[in-house]
Amino acid sequence: MHSRPDLSYSVGVASRFMEKPTVMHAKTVKQILRYLKGTVNLGLVYVQGGSADKLEGYTDSDQGGDAVERRSTGGMAFYLNENLITWTSQKQKIVTLYSCEAEFVAATSVAKQALWLRNLVSEITKEKPKTVTLYIDSNSAIALMKKPMFHEGVNTLI
């Protein structure tokens, strides 16, 4: 549902058990529906903003939150000025050993999306592609991006 970013994580988690769902999973899904019932009128608001089109991306990740495969789940959200335009919550394709790595993986996918979005915005506005600001709440991941060092531990990505 493209107006309900709040559902995307829970639905994503529930969808991992589609192959062999049990009573436990059905309970989770039922709770999502009950939550939906209480929030049917929620949606997104797009407001009038400044003249400059500022594109910002946010990303975060857990670390091995998936109890089955120990893979991490990353999320991202993009804003055009004050307006949320796109978001995802996705289980990462690889196993990472440190939260720094998981954040790095999430940041990589947010960067890919940022490139696509900023090209699209530039085509629409007919202005040169602008810098997209990405926010990541992990200092070590930021450090790793700025200076890709070969650490003894952090090597699953390299």
Binding site: H2, T22, V29, R34, Y46, V47, G50, N119
Partner: protein, 262 residues
């Protein structure tokens, strides 16, 4: 019919069209070709359909709201029937309209029918040509087109036969609508208010989008209309695992619910 060509059967399709409240607004009858018998490389060469990602619709709305623009919605009537066919396509005669005594003969199509594999692509080529003539330039990253600059700029999102257009200048939007109407038979749906289940509300200085009608329909479908609502989406620390050995539930139903919530 030439040897080596395939005869494609026709079929009538009947459909009810509902608005966002679920009320019936249209009864539709449409002649469709049984395109599933067509083979790639034999009956058609390429397939393609213009589907703008929902992200792009979001971006378009956000962009319009940000600039205080209005978003308009146009719909091309029986869009696929406009597509010119490149290939030779033969169809049997439609039920109820057979020529007496010549029932075994076939028609050769010059334009596409719904159901044909090449119909979406043929329509897209036709639309592209028209848009190009009207001065639109295609975006490289999405199914969107733009025209003009400054206060005459228009942005157009294409979703098969739905056109979503926005721009600073209302006169320019009006002009575009007139131009399109002279090319194709179109319905001017005015300000965008409902699109693929998304309810759009355009106000003076903001736009809202929600899925209320859709959500209610989903709740009803799964017998949850009367359930007790909750403010908690997921128990904190609820650690879902594969639950091996747990009592299994109907997987099809489970998948259906997930599919509706995605």
């Amino acid at each position: 019919m030439p040897i080596g060509k395939r005869r494609i059967g026709l079929k009538w399709g009947f459909k009810l069209k509902r608005n966002s409240e679920g009320e019936i607004v249209k009864h539709k009858a449409r002649l469709v070709a049984k395109g599933y018998v067509q083979k790639h490389g034999i009956d058609f060469e390429e397939v393609f359909a213009t589907v703008a990602r929902l992200d792009t619709i979001g971006l378009l709305l956000a962009f319009a709201a940000n600039n205080g623009w209005k978003v308009h919605h146009l719909d091309v009537k029986s869009a696929f029937l406009h597509g010119e066919l490149e290939e030779e396509v033969y169809v049997s005669q439609p039920e109820g309209y057979k020529v007496k005594g010549r029932e075994q003969e076939v028609f050769r199509l010059s334009k596409a029918l719904y159901g044909l594999k090449q119909a979406p692509r043929a329509w897209n080529i036709t639309l592209d040509k028209s848009l190009n003539m009207l001065g639109f330039r295609k975006c490289l990253s999405e199914q969107a087109d733009t025209r003009g600059t400054g206060d005459k700029a228009l942005i157009l999102g294409v979703y098969v036969d739905d056109l979503i257009v926005t721009g600073d200048n209302p006169e320019e939007i009006k002009l575009f609508k007139r131009q399109m109407m002279s090319e194709f038979e179109m319905t001017d749906l005015g300000l965008l208010n409902y699109y693929l289940g998304i309810e759009v509300d355009q106000r003076e200085d903001y736009i809202t989008v929600k899925h209320s009608g859709y959500a209610r329909k989903v709740l009803e479908q799964f017998g949850m209309s009367g359930c007790n609502s909750t403010k908690v989406l997921m128990e904190p620390g609820c650690n879902l695992n594969a639950d091996k050995g747990g009592q299994q539930v109907d997987a099809t139903e489970y998948r259906k619910i997930i599919g509706c919530l995605r």
